[in-house]
């Protein structure tokens, strides 16, 4: 398994533990990641609000870099995945637009010819590694751990761009959670918005959004929540205290990055997975699976 790797800004900024735990999991399975160090920010849908052509061209450049290395592109951020998938769809379907965008990209080997495969690590685990190999690698089954899957918007919607999970009944996170020996819980919030995009401009609305989902997960018996999107992680972990204020109750739900959950089941230590970096303590999760 070999991929061009687009870690995204958050894994290199506010969530270094996502980068760290991704490396641990990749190394474990011998997955080779060729990092695109000169790729720009994907724009998170925000740059597009400034200028659609600008967002298209910056991302076309990223896709082009992967394509010229002859590799599929791997993401570890639901938002990056959503943005890049929609850029891919637009440029794959409209060749005239692709030409125009390419003409603005200086370097020949950064132009995008169309047809690149872009995969989130979650999907790569399911499709390329396979559940059987994943199961066989589990050294510390997460038996008894009740995990709330939280997809985040952009890895699901619009489903015409992502073409993976059913946007109202996704099951890829559940499949991995089950393979690791844990129990996925079913709750409405799993496909909802974490509130991150309006965290600073509409703080109260965002706090309520994440609060409702966290309480929903908690009332359904979750010991922790796992997400394939670091923006969701920021909203649900860093800002959980705000959610508690908005909901008028304590929540205290540990939030795990997708590769952290995998890494725990593979037998890695919380330290190797950067668990101490979270704002909400993960100690309850670790106790439950007999670590730390």
């Amino acid at each position: 398994m070999r991929y061009a790797f687009f870690p995204g800004c958050v894994a290199q900024g506010a969530c270094p533990e996502l980068y760290q735990s991704t490396m641990v999991v990749a190394r474990h399975f011998g997955i080779e990641l060729i990092e695109l160090r000169q790729a720009s920010c994907c724009g998170a849908g925000v740059l597009k609000e400034a200028s659609p052509a600008l967002a298209l061209s910056l991302n076309a450049r990223t896709l082009g870099m992967a394509q010229h290395r002859g590799l599929p592109l791997l993401t570890i951020c639901g938002t990056c995945q959503g943005v890049l998938s929609s850029v891919k769809r637009e440029l794959d379907e409209q060749s005239a637009l692709r030409e125009t965008i390419n003409a603005s990209i200086e370097q020949e080997d950064e132009r995008y010819r169309g047809g690149l495969e872009i995969k989130h690590l979650l999907w790569a685990m399911l499709e390329d590694l396979g559940l059987d190999r994943l199961k066989a690698a589990v050294a510390r089954p997460l038996t008894g751990l009740q995990v709330a899957p939280f997809y985040g918007c952009y890895i699901l919607r619009p489903s015409g761009d992502l073409k993976h999970d059913d946007p109202f009944h996704p099951d890829s996170l559940e499949a991995v959670i089950t393979a690791l020996g844990a129990t996925p819980i079913d709750y409405e919030g799993r496909i909802k918005c974490c509130g991150f995009p309006i965290l600073l401009e509409k703080a109260e609305m965002a706090a309520r959004m994440s609060g409702e989902n966290l309480v929903d997960a908690k009332t359904h018996g979750a010991d922790c929540l796992v997400t394939p999107c670091p923006l969701c992680h920021m909203s649900l972990d860093i800002y959980q205290q705000r959610a508690e204020q908005a909901m008028g109750r304590s929540i205290g739900l540990p939030i795990l990055h997708f590769p952290q959950l995998v890494g725990l089941a593979l037998g890695y230590s919380p330290k190797e997975l950067g668990m101490a970096r979270h704002l909400v303590s993960t100690s309850k999760v670790l106790q439950k699976i007999g670590v730390g």
Partner: protein, 322 residues
Amino acid sequence: MRITFSLQRFDPERDHAPHQEEFRLDVAWRSTTVLDALIRIRQEVDPTVAFRHSCRSAICGSCSMVINGRHTLACKTLIGPEIERHGPTITVAPMRNLPVLKDLAVRMEPFWQKVRAVTPWLEQAGGASSTAQAVLTKETRSHLHNVDACILCGACVSSCSSLEVSPGFLGPAALAKAYRFVADPRDGARSRRLTMLTQPDGVWDCTRCNMCVEVCPKDVQPMEAIVRLRRAAITDGLTDTIGARHITSFTEIVRQEGRLNEGRLPAQMLWRHPAALLAQLPLAIKMFVRGKVPLPWHPPLDSIRAIRRLFGRWGTPSSWTN
């Protein structure tokens, strides 16, 4: 084939809370829609089941409901694919984010109020006496995107994440309608419209969740219309909201560094709102302690020249500078 329909029932005169009731029906599942089945249930089993419908062909927009968790038109939903995906029980509930009248029928008044609030008709520049005429060309029409196709069914409103926590939000349908007039060259009220739409409960309250894009049966893509409204507002100089500063600050940071720097974004967005900025401080300290705050100033990527070239080519109006 015998299918079970689990309908949400609620009669405000009898019930304290909604409950599910099951109806079993033999249907030709390949050719039957959920609406067909509901009509048969009402005719053959229980005449008191309440729901709205009219055209049966996805035109009138009156049969929106939540079917197996998806906000959609009952007359456009075939039973076959539903049971293939979710098994032989089909769950039907009324739309969300609107008050339930009875069973599957909701009160649409709040929906219409918001559509009316965006003045959904053309206004003439310079008052009614103006004789100037603007013509709608084919080219401009394409800018109206798909917003003309809206059948006012409310599915997007039912699915909207922001409405769930903030009932006053104008919502996807009304905002898509608003864009339709902002983008129409025959309209003379652009600036008044954009000023109104950038107030609280307007375009900056949308959390960009893409639910409305996902559910719309007519591919109106309301969120895309909202994005265009935001862009129009910023282009017209309405940059003094935190929402607008989110866009301009984000863009400027990526232009300078090539990547987003979360260490800089809050400060750049909120410097005119000291209280909000101060409220970030305790969190910032906790994040710093855990190594989660990137340096406030990153050296730009080595490839920054190539990136800035794209900013130069496709970049943003000068009215944007922070």
